[in-house]
Amino acid sequence: MQNPVAESTTPVPRPDKTMTMRDAIAAFVPDGATVALEGFTHLIPTAAGHEIIRQGRKDLTVARMTADIVTDQLIAGGCVRKLVSSFVGNSTAGSLGELRRRIETGRPAPLEFEEYSHYGMICRYLAGAQRLPFYPLRSYGGSDVPAVNPGIRKVTSPFPGPDGEAEQIYVVPPLNPDVTIVHAQRADRAGNTQIWGLTGIQAEAVYAAKRAIIVVEEVVADEVIRSDPNRTVIPAHAVDAVVACPRGAHPAFAQGYYDRDGDFYRSWSHISKDPERLQAWLDEWIRGTRDHADYLEKLGDEHWSGLAVGEAWSEPVNYGRRL
């Protein structure tokens, strides 16, 4: 039996998981990995995607419900072998030029594509997070999607349906990314992560993953997080790296921090339509910048002032304290 020898009663230290973006991507995103990048329009981990391009990762399988600009950039950056997604489009602002070229023409290289619906992707993360062999859902009946995606199968319920007959339902398999990367407003150094506004599927995508990188607008003091533990969407024990990267969701928005860059979304359809222009853009804005701070400097303060937001503070709640 082990014999403890500790003599001090200092407070239990919390692990410090803060890292630079460069180190986090280098450590947790190897070539060939399955990488989930989640964030539904809000808090998209764009800066992390850019760093993956800078480091020249290859043969990634990218899982992302709404495959939008950062996905198009990763594909154009030569990083992606396969895409797993439920929506491939530039939000409401137009097309993803590179993604469409790859799928429609197979040039400059084909892109493997696994198609789902949104809830199909959500259920894959739910199954992954819960170590379930499958997750049932009420859609897919009669769709052609299962015919092109053999991962979507049927199960017969052991309970009779409302008509007393056996009932069938579609199921999807678990998705367990090697690493999930999400962007959040704030976290403490141990990885307790708080998100407000659209919280999307971030928590489930993190729980489903073997590793998780949390990119945040701010690393905050433990006391800030602990003042509102219900706001913590992802607890520290599910997190491997915390990366401070302000404005790292651009051109997406971060509720309460900055607004969506609608002009950029609209411009992407044009940039990505022409492969040469797209590569020149990547060279200039991603490969030609050292890191996200450099990218931001290049964008300029004036650009950012146009995305500034005003104040709308939540009413605090009382957690109470025993008297």
Partner: protein, 264 residues
């Protein structure tokens, strides 16, 4: 469209296609409680319905926002202005699992590149899925909106045979008839209304085809049939759609979308 309405200031202003479709769609929402809608025409229609036929109706957005009170007209379903001052923001698991699949949506609004006579929708590809002529965005939540909403309204700006097809290139979001043939019990009625620039197609539920039930003033049945890729049947009592009223237009132009973001 060539309907003309008199503006509140008295001058005649042409009714736009968006105004027409929004006004017509809004009238179909009488008696409904919850609507799953995207930005643009569907939100215009629901906002107008809130001010007219369905005061208590609530929009649930695919981003998870319930009870939005936006300070400005939102640009996307996830616009920050939808979130601030809203009543609830749900995580995706609750939105898709409990609200949508849970059966709490009366009417879902959907669009599509292609629709067939049973109200099945294609938003994935033009051509063969494996080597598509055009790769479209795919389902998003459309498959779930179709499978789980009480009924589905489709608004199509252009009624033509390239969209109203006898055979879809690919079925992304199937109606209940296809689900049944696949051995899956459907939970909703599927598409019950298709509102277009020519008129309104309707069906009641399982086993029923879309039929032409109303046309805009001046549109003939033959015109609609020619614009439809299948042998479209018309209702015995075909009605003529009343153009947007002055009250509807005033609400749309002054209250719902005063900056004419979507009423273009």
């Amino acid at each position: 469209m060539n309907a003309v309405s008199t503006s509140p200031t008295g001058s005649a202003v042409a009714v736009t296609s968006s105004e027409l479709l929004a006004a017509v769609a809004s009238r179909e929402l009488a008696g409904k409680n919850t609507v799953f809608a995207g930005i643009g025409l569907p939100t215009l229609a629901v906002s107008l319905a809130q001010l007219t036929v369905a005061p208590g109706i609530e929009i649930v957005y695919e981003s998870g926002v319930c009870g939005a009170h936006p300070s400005q007209l939102p640009e996307t379903i996830a616009d920050a202005v939808l979130i601030t001052d809203s009543e609830a923001v749900l995580p995706m698991t609750a939105l898709f699992g409990y609200v949508l699949q849970g059966g709490r949506i009366d009417v879902g609004f959907l669009g599509a590149a292609q629709i067939d006579r049973w109200g099945n929708l294609n938003s994935s590809v033009i051509g063969d899925w494996h080597a598509p002529k055009v790769r479209l965005p795919g389902s998003g939540g459309a498959m779930e909106v179709m499978a789980n909403s009480g009924e589905v309204f489709v608004v199509m700006r252009r009624h033509d045979p390239r969209s109203f097809m006898s055979e879809l290139d690919f079925c992304t979001s199937p109606g209940p008839d296809r689900a049944l043939r696949d051995g899956i019990r459907p939970l909703g009625a599927g598409v019950t209304r298709v509102i277009t620039d020519l008129g309104i197609l309707a069906r009641g539920g399982v086993g029923e085809e879309l039929r032409l039930v109303a046309t805009h003033p001046g549109v003939t049945v033959d015109q609609v049939r020619a614009a439809t890729g299948w042998d479209l049947q018309a209702a015995d009592e075909l009605t003529t759609i009343e153009p947007p009223t002055a009250a509807e237009l005033r609400l749309l132009r002054e209250d719902v979308d005063p900056d004419r973001v979507y009423l273009r």
